[in-house]
Amino acid sequence: MAKKYSMVINLARCIGCQACTVACKFQNNVPEGQYRTKTPANGIKGTYPDISTYFIKEACQMCQNAPCVSVCPTKASHYNEDGVVLIDINKCVGCKYCMTACPYDARFLNKETGAADKCTFCYEAKVSQGEKPACVSTCLGGALMFGDLNDPASDVSKFLANHKGEVRKPEFGTHPNVYYIYEGVVK
């Protein structure tokens, strides 16, 4: 049965340590100055001394209805057999149309290949080998979970079963496969 890979991000546990950011760079040879993921603070809310903040990991949201895929003139952007949105860098001409279409600023033009680039869920090197994505396995705060939503026994299925997972910018109908848990943080 086809997989439905998904990442769940428990914001209350994210400490903005950027271990994910760096692990991703090395796992995927992301060029200097470019990132597939970053985890900045979501600003500070309130006024001293009653304030709060949380860190939010930004990367491709793995939309099941992905604008980047539908607009891509060469079909370089595509869904693979497990519903993961990937880019075939040989087909990609670097027209950046997908970048204008992505509502999450998840894509960039790879300085070295000239092709569009983004989070791949580490599909080729890790997930397809039965391992966790690089960012997930190094997550210091223990905020990241990854797995197959079609498998009720997976961490992500179990976690989402008793926590409220929310997707970003649902108004665009992109149906992301990345879920954020806001329990314990001030949204």
Binding site: P40, G43, C72, P73, K96, M99, T100, N110
Partner: protein
């Protein structure tokens, strides 16, 4: 700034190159329309206009495509755009429309040139030479009007495509603006078609200044300007105010509205009624306004 407490500015995907490309494609479309329609429905008194338009179209579209290719992350793989096709992608379809249009505009440009040189010869040389000249070009010249006719469709296609390219981005609140809120009718294609025709026409007239009396064209141009003013007002009323007050405000109010529409409108009213040769300033401003419009739309869509 650091990665944890906030990140510096991001670059936007589509910059000036694309704006200019969209603008040039528009001019090309408009110029071709001007020339071909004149050619089809008018006696030869406007041959200078036909020539101007027929030459401007291929030049601008080719230069525009050049910019497009250079803007690619992989300029030397541009041909893959023709190899791999995605009919769901406006860009993929557009690539074909524009290719055909470019081809037609080149052919048409050549035919017009051939015709005009033939005619020039005809004016200088003796009767039998004249016969020779005309007969020699008869074969090809027979194609001119058909090419013009088909070209009309593709030039309209090209002009509107530049709008569809952006309006197809459903996740972009500005580009995706609907016409009078009618989801099914995207706004930009209409706006860009009008703007293209008026800028194309204007450019053509610039190329044909020292020709006969251009009053009818100037009248058309005026109508187009008025149309565009109406469209821009609709946009202003339907779209989010931030678009017109943010970092792009100056470009919009000064470039698009003032230089591109208001001033030329008054000037041309004045020009048509009284003054004869006020073509250059008006058309010049219309062209600049068209360029500003593309810049405004391309950037605004990505900044807010």
């Amino acid at each position: 700034m650091d990665v944890t407490w906030g990140i510096g500015a991001e670059e936007i995907a589509w910059g000036g190159m694309i704006a200019i490309y969209l603008f040039l494609a528009g001019v090309a479309g408009g110029a071709f329309l001007t020339a071909s329609l004149t050619d089809l429905f008018n006696k030869n008194q406007y041959s200078k206009v036909i020539r101007s338009g027929a030459y401007i179209a291929p030049l601008t579209i080719i230069f525009g495509l050049l910019l497009l290719v250079v803007d690619l992350g992989k300029p030397f793989s541009f041909w893959k755009l023709l190899l791999y096709v995605n009919f769901k992608s406006v860009m993929s379809i557009g690539v074909f429309i524009i290719s055909v249009f470019s081809a037609l505009s080149v052919v048409y440009g050549f035919l017009v040139w051939q015709k005009s040189t033939a005619e020039r010869k005809l004016r200088q040389t003796s009767a039998n030479a004249q016969v020779a000249a005309t007969t020699s070009s008869k074969g090809l010249q027979a194609l001119r009007k058909p090419v013009a006719a088909v070209g009309v469709l593709f030039s309209i296609g090209t002009a509107t495509y530049t709008g569809f390219l952006l309006s197809a981005i459903t996740t972009n609140n500005f580009w995706h603006t609907a016409f009078l809120g009618l989801e099914s009718i995207p706004f930009l294609p209409i706006l860009f078609l009008v703007s293209a025709t008026s800028t194309g026409l204007a450019a053509t007239l610039i190329g044909a200044v020292k020709c006969c009396d251009l009053t009818p064209y100037k009248k058309i141009d005026m109508v187009l300007i008025i149309l565009e003013i109406i469209l821009i007002s609709i946009l202003y009323l339907t779209a989010d105010p931030i678009f017109f007050t943010g970092s792009m405000a100056t470009l919009f109010w000064l470039g698009v509205v003032t230089v591109g529409l208001i001033v030329p409108l008054f000037l041309s009213i004045y020009g048509v009624s009284k003054h004869k040769n006020i073509v250059l300033p008006v058309c010049g401003m219309v062209v600049i306004g068209g360029l500003c419009l593309r810049y405004f739309v391309v950037f605004t869509g990505q900044l807010f």
